[in-house]
């Protein structure tokens, strides 16, 4: 904890740059997220939006700039990285549940092994969150036996079991059938209403309008535009944003 300003921010990205080999994926990204803020990140594919949020829990390394999460700067230091990851939950496009463990074991694994929680307590917490995502009855099944929407809700419950301060969502509904998108979004909306700090990469514009404090539009590794949702959708400032919005909204 260096000073008061970093303490106040949940996530701070300052002049973050990243390259994949020669390819410059992230260019001078600056982003401050205050606790409780809900941010939706959108943009065309390949714009670096997933890479950006994956930098926040260091699934990707940035090569230049500064990333500070909950007052901890991300560096090579593995201890700090694990410390950040404990407090930052993440949901993936393809859920990435552990197929060899039951739903309940998926949820209790990290609390037991990372937080050293007794098994009984971890089970109780897991059941609590499984109830919140409305699938307590599936606790003893294996992930392969569930539908995509159910799997994604388990993945959300799994992250919540670590009681994270920040949740990252990397296109959580892109791999789902239209009917299942709603059940996942409902859970996310509920989470947002409870005041969770959230960064979501998604193209669900209805969700953005409903819960986001801020919408960020990225293209070619840069933040093109950011605004509160109504302004963003009704009155986009940048031509690139206008083009993108016309393409995704006029269907």
């Amino acid at each position: 904890m260096d000073n008061a300003t970093t303490n106040e921010l949940a996530v701070q990205l300052a002049d973050v740059n990243k390259w994949y080999g020669e390819f410059h994926v992230l260019k001078d990204i600056n982003l401050d997220v205050t606790p409780g803020e809900r941010i939706v990140i959108c943009g065309p594919s390949g714009s670096g939006k997933s890479t950006m949020i994956r930098c926040i829990n260091r699934l990707e390394e940035h090569q230049k700039g500064k990333i500070i999460v909950n007052g901890i700067e991300l560096t090579e230091d593995l201890k700090r990285i694990d410390e950040v990851r404990r407090e930052v939950g993440m949901c993936f496009q393809h859920f990435n549940l552990f197929p060899h463990l039951t739903v309940l074991e998926n949820c209790t694994l990290a609390p037991i092994w990372v937080r050293k929680m007794p098994k009984k307590e971890a089970d109780e917490i897991a059941m609590h969150y499984l109830e919140r995502v409305k699938i307590p009855e599936q606790a003893d099944k294996f992930p392969g036996q569930l539908s995509g929407g159910q799997q994604q809700r388990v993945a959300i419950a799994r992250s919540l079991c670590m009681s994270p301060k920040i949740m990252l969502f990397d296109e959580p509904t892109s791999a789902l059938d239209p009917e299942m998108i709603k059940e996942v979004l409902d859970v996310m909306v509920e989470l947002a209403e409870e005041g969770m700090t959230m960064l979501c990469v998604t193209h669900e514009m209805g969700f953005a309008k409903l819960v986001a404090n801020r919408v960020i539009f990225m293209d070619a590794g840069q933040i093109v535009e950011e605004n509160e949702p109504h302004e963003f959708f009704d009155n986009p400032q940048n031509d690139r944003t206008k083009l993108f919005l016309s393409q995704i909204l006029n269907h």
């Binding site: 699934l59 993936f92 552990f98 694994l109 392969g144 036996q145």
Partner: protein
């Protein structure tokens, strides 16, 4: 209006049922099939009858020397019965056989229960068979402590030696293979290079030359007076050799695990070793059970090569016994017996692996 009435179930016509139906369907469905079936049945008959006659009907099962087997065309199993002790215990002193018997019994008790799903103490028994069991056996067999007579390793042999080599090889090669496989995928260049070098070196030489080197060349490089046991050197050679193979089998499994699994484990804050131990390896090892057991079986059979450095495993004791003039020409019987012994162990390993695959499969069932 017509009423719908259920027709009673009728038995199927005789041609489709029972043995007759099976024969018609599988062996005589077309004229060409019938001809083939008749030929195959004839060939099988003409092969099986003499084999069974040799192995069972004309065979001699008891007797003390070759006079018992004179005047018959059948197998002289009396020879096997007469030499069974040597085949099993090697030249271990007969009055100390009970020590090996205890080891065999422990082996059976510690691995037998793993075949039964309902057995409640699998975990402790499994841990016992991997930790305490080899230690107990070592002290029992070698003696020299706890008031037991010292039996030097030169006298260990037969089936006992084969099992010893195979057991230590299997139990040590798997964890070393896991570490090597992880090391080969490590992001640290020093570790990666070392593991690649190790694996490629051991895979690139024949086991025979490894054994030769361990028994003949290694002592030349060691300082005088430092001369550790030949059996131990062979064991190390076999273990290193097989762990290189094992590492590649396991690496195949590691590569089959999607990147998302690694990322999910990382994102939850699991450390490298925890995510490997809890997430990646359980899935990867399960995927490559057939390959692992394949390597185990190869290892088990490769132990016979130790006879070239003068260790007398079961095959070597059989080979020595068939040259005994007291028994005449009993080579076939001896080799059939040795082959049968190997087959029993290899087949049990194969069955156990299938059992394990089935048991662990449920996690992925859709």
């Amino acid at each position: 209006m017509k009423n719908f009435t259920l027709l009673p179930d009728m038995p199927a016509p005789i041609v489709a049922r029972g043995i007759v139906g099976w024969f018609r369907k599988n062996l005589f469905s077309t004229p060409w099939n019938s001809v083939l079936s008749v030929i195959v049945i004839y060939v099988l008959y003409s092969l099986l009858v003499p084999v069974l006659d040799w192995a069972i009907f004309s065979a001699v099962f008891t007797g003390a020397d070759k006079s018992a087997c004179e005047g018959t065309d059948g197998a002289c199993w009396a020879f096997i019965g007469n030499r069974l002790d040597i085949f099993i215990y090697g030249s271990y002193p007969a009055e100390e056989y009970w020590r090996l018997k205890i080891c065999f019994a422990l082996l059976l008790l510690s691995f037998g229960p793993q075949f039964f799903d309902k057995f409640p103490y699998k975990m402790p028994v499994g841990v016992f068979s991997l930790t305490a069991f080899p230690v107990i056996c070592y002290f029992l067999i070698s003696g020299g402590s706890f008031g037991l007579v010292d039996v030097e390793p030169e006298r260990w042999g037969g089936m006992a030696l084969t099992l010893m080599l195979a057991y230590v090889g299997i139990v040590a090669a798997l964890p070393i293979g896991v570490v090597l496989a992880l090391g080969r995928r490590s992001e640290m260049p020093v570790i990666r290079t070392f593991c690649i070098g190790f694996i490629e070196m051991w895979r690139g030489v024949p086991l025979i030359s490894v054994l030769f080197m361990s028994s003949v060349m290694l002592p030349l490089f060691l300082p005088d007076g430092m001369n550790f046991d030949k059996l131990l050197r062979a064991l190390i050679g076999i273990t290193m050799f097989q762990s290189a193979y094992m590492a590649e089998v396991i690496r195949g499994g590691l590569q089959a695990i999607p990147r998302g699994q690694y990322e999910a484990a990382k994102a939850l804050g699991l450390s490298y070793w925890k995510s490997m131990g809890l997430i990646i390896l359980p899935q990867a090892l399960k995927l490559v059970i057939p390959g692992i057991v394949n390597t185990f079986i190869a290892l088990f059979k490769d132990t016979t090569l130790v006879l070239i450095i003068g260790l007398l495993d079961i095959l070597a004791t059989v080979q020595a016994a068939i040259t005994d003039p007291a028994w005449g020409a009993v080579g076939t019987e001896g080799y059939v017996f040795a082959a049968a012994c190997f087959w029993v162990f290899c087949f049990s390993m194969s069955r156990y692996s299938q059992h394990l695959e089935q048991k662990l499969h449920r996690g992925h069932k859709r």
